[in-house]
């Protein structure tokens, strides 16, 4: 496939009219028609029913449209990243990250961009899922990282990055830190710090209640920063997702029988032109190896932090 063929094809799918598509692409209609015939030959079927001047997509055309669009946008992004490098201006990265998602997920990628693009600027927005959605809608952010988002807006593109489980986190001085494995019974009579900003807080509470654990008398915390301070002071224990980074003096362990997982997703807005830097970050996040977070049992091994079970052994 050739890039110009896909550009013409996408113009026809937008206008549903060969004449207007040719105008839009600044080519003559015969060249556009010829390019479409070549594309059809390569794909092995008709893309349009030609009822002049209108063009209706065939079933194959409808199937190919999103696929070709995805590749085309990737090619445009690749090209504009390389050319913006030459111009020295890569643009401002505007990204919104949900409160319940750790910024450290983004850090290595920002470091990479910073290495190549000295002049990189970014705008980092925080909020709950609803607010992340609003930032995207209003165009304040080009990309969003969140767990769940209302599907009430059909222009949201989403790419699942990884699915992770939840772990118990306690202070190293806490009695549970020395225990080989942790079950629901161990959580009874503990002061639970509840991450009110996490979309899964309610689901976790319900699970704990079902196991006779009094989750309702827990402390309600509204930021990860505060949560860490309280854990460091050993004021309570918490249940956190695998990808949340915690200071060294905190210990984590899987909770036997706790089967709640969340999927961290990347969001973008379909049909809106992306800056070179946003499409680069999108590709970096989508191609990244998230496997350290997806292991069902253990915490990420980013630092050589002894796992709870090893401490006990």
């Amino acid at each position: 496939m050739e890039m110009h063929q896909i550009r013409y094809f996408l113009a026809v799918t937008r206008t549903l009219n060969f004449t207007r598509a040719a105008d839009e692409c600044n080519v003559t209609q015969p060249s556009l028609t010829r390019a479409m015939k070549q594309l059809e030959a390569e794909l092995g079927g008709d893309l349009f029913r030609r009822e002049r001047p209108a063009a209706q997509l065939t079933e194959l055309g409808q199937r190919m449209q999103p696929l070709l669009k995805q590749c085309y946008e990737a090619a445009v992004g690749a090209r504009s990243l390389a050319s913006s490098f030459k111009g020295g201006k890569v643009g401002t990265l505007r990204i919104a990250i949900a409160d319940a998602v750790d910024l450290s997920l983004l850090i290595p990628h920002l470091e990479q961009l910073k290495r190549l693009f000295n002049a990189l600027e970014f705008k980092l927005l925080r909020g709950n899922s609803k607010q992340i959605g609003e930032y995207l809608k209003k165009g304040e952010a080009e990309l969003g990282i969140a767990v769940e988002m209302d599907k009430d807006w059909d222009r949201l593109d989403s790419w699942p990055l990884f699915t992770e489980s939840f772990l118990l986190v306690v202070n190293e001085r806490h009695p549970l830190a020395a225990q080989g494995s942790v079950g629901f019974d161990d959580l009874k009579k503990q002061q639970l710090l509840s991450r009110g900003y996490c979309e899964y807080a309610e689901r976790l509470s319900a699970t704990l209640r079902a196991c006779d654990i009094d989750a309702d008398s827990s402390h309600d915390i509204s930021s990860e920063h505060d949560l860490i301070k309280l854990l460091e002071a050993d004021i309570g224990i918490a249940i956190i997702p695998c990808s949340a980074s915690m200071p060294d003096k905190l210990r984590r362990a899987p909770i036997e029988g706790l089967d709640i997982r969340r999927t961290v997703q990347l969001f973008g807005v379909a049909g809106r032109e992306r800056t070179a830097v946003a499409s680069a970050v999108m590709k970096m996040l989508r191609s990244a190896d998230w496997q350290p977070f997806t292991s069902p049992a253990m915490a990420p091994a980013r630092e050589a932090r002894p796992a709870l079970s090893i401490v006990a052994a």
Binding site: M3, L43, L67
Partner: protein, 264 residues
């Protein structure tokens, strides 16, 4: 014991081919022959897809010898961003497109490139492989081939399309691949079922294509000796000898490599 998938059966013969003391084209042909023997049906599907691509000259409009190779900025299998122009400051670059870690021909190709990597380095050049796979699978190809070169992730095939190297696998081949144990969608992180023609470009320090090998039949790859033969004279440039352009540029068609007549 559970019945082996086609992909698993092929893995054994890929391993045998890897051990052969023979040119890359012979090692690749041994795998192609094994595909024909194990599943004439699958081989038939491959033949029809390749015929469709050849009939439409897919990939031929990629950058020609003497043309500028478009710059890229792509992450390697560890997430480090790699830029072509930065590599070219150090010497010529061999840019080798791969379909993925799952493809037996790509494995042998990457393995072959790893074998000549010390010679390439001696000639002052570097190798980069580009595949549409996410880092986890790029790392698998790298470790299989013990490749000292990076495997760059071209997610959604953006750079491959920019070079006019992209093609759609098509329903018949997709179904055959899925049934055979080659479900590539999770490796690529998308559902497009698009693949690059596994082309090889040799790019000089001036950013121009010095040689290219493009074959819509993915069972054929640029012969390793041809890569070294192209890099030889370029290495003189790397050492800093001034070169003249224009008249002395030679016959372009000499650097348009075509497959050997080993048959398919």
């Amino acid at each position: 014991m559970a019945e082996k998938t086609f992909a698993e059966l092929l893995e054994e013969s890929t391993e045998n081919s890897r051990m052969m003391d023979a040119p890359l084209s012979v090692r690749l042909k041994a795998v192609a022959d094994e595909v024909n023997r194990l599943s004439p049906e699958f081989a038939g599907v491959v033949g029809r897809m390749v015929a469709r691509l050849e009939a439409n000259s897919v990939g031929q409009s990629a950058p020609q010898v003497g043309e500028q190779m478009p710059d890229f900025i792509l992450p390697d299998e560890k997430g480090t961003l790699v830029r072509l122009e930065n590599l070219l400051e150090q010497g010529p670059v061999v840019v080798s497109f791969h379909r993925g870690h799952w493809c037996p021909y790509c494995r042998l190709n990457a393995d072959g490139l790893a074998r000549i990597a010390p010679d390439v380095k001696r000639l002052g050049a570097q190798i980069v492989a580009i595949s549409p796979e996410t880092h986890h699978y790029g790392a698998e190809l790298k470790s299989y081939a013990k490749a000292p070169f990076p495997i760059l992730a071209d997610v959604d095939n953006g750079y491959a399309l920019e070079l006019n190297l992209l093609f759609w696998v098509g329903d018949e081949k997709r179904e055959a691949m899925q049934a055979g144990g080659f479900d590539i969608a999770p490796y690529q992180g998308n559902e497009t079922w698009m693949l690059p023609i596994p082309a090889t470009f040799i790019v000089g320090r001036d950013g121009l294509v010095k040689a290219r090998y493009i074959d819509p039949d993915y069972r054929h790859r640029m012969e390793l000796e041809a890569i070294l033969a192209t890099l030889g004279p370029l290495s003189a440039e790397t050492v800093g000898r001034s070169i003249s352009f224009g008249a002395g540029n030679g016959d372009r068609s000499q650097h348009e490599y075509r497959r050997r007549s080993t048959g398919s």
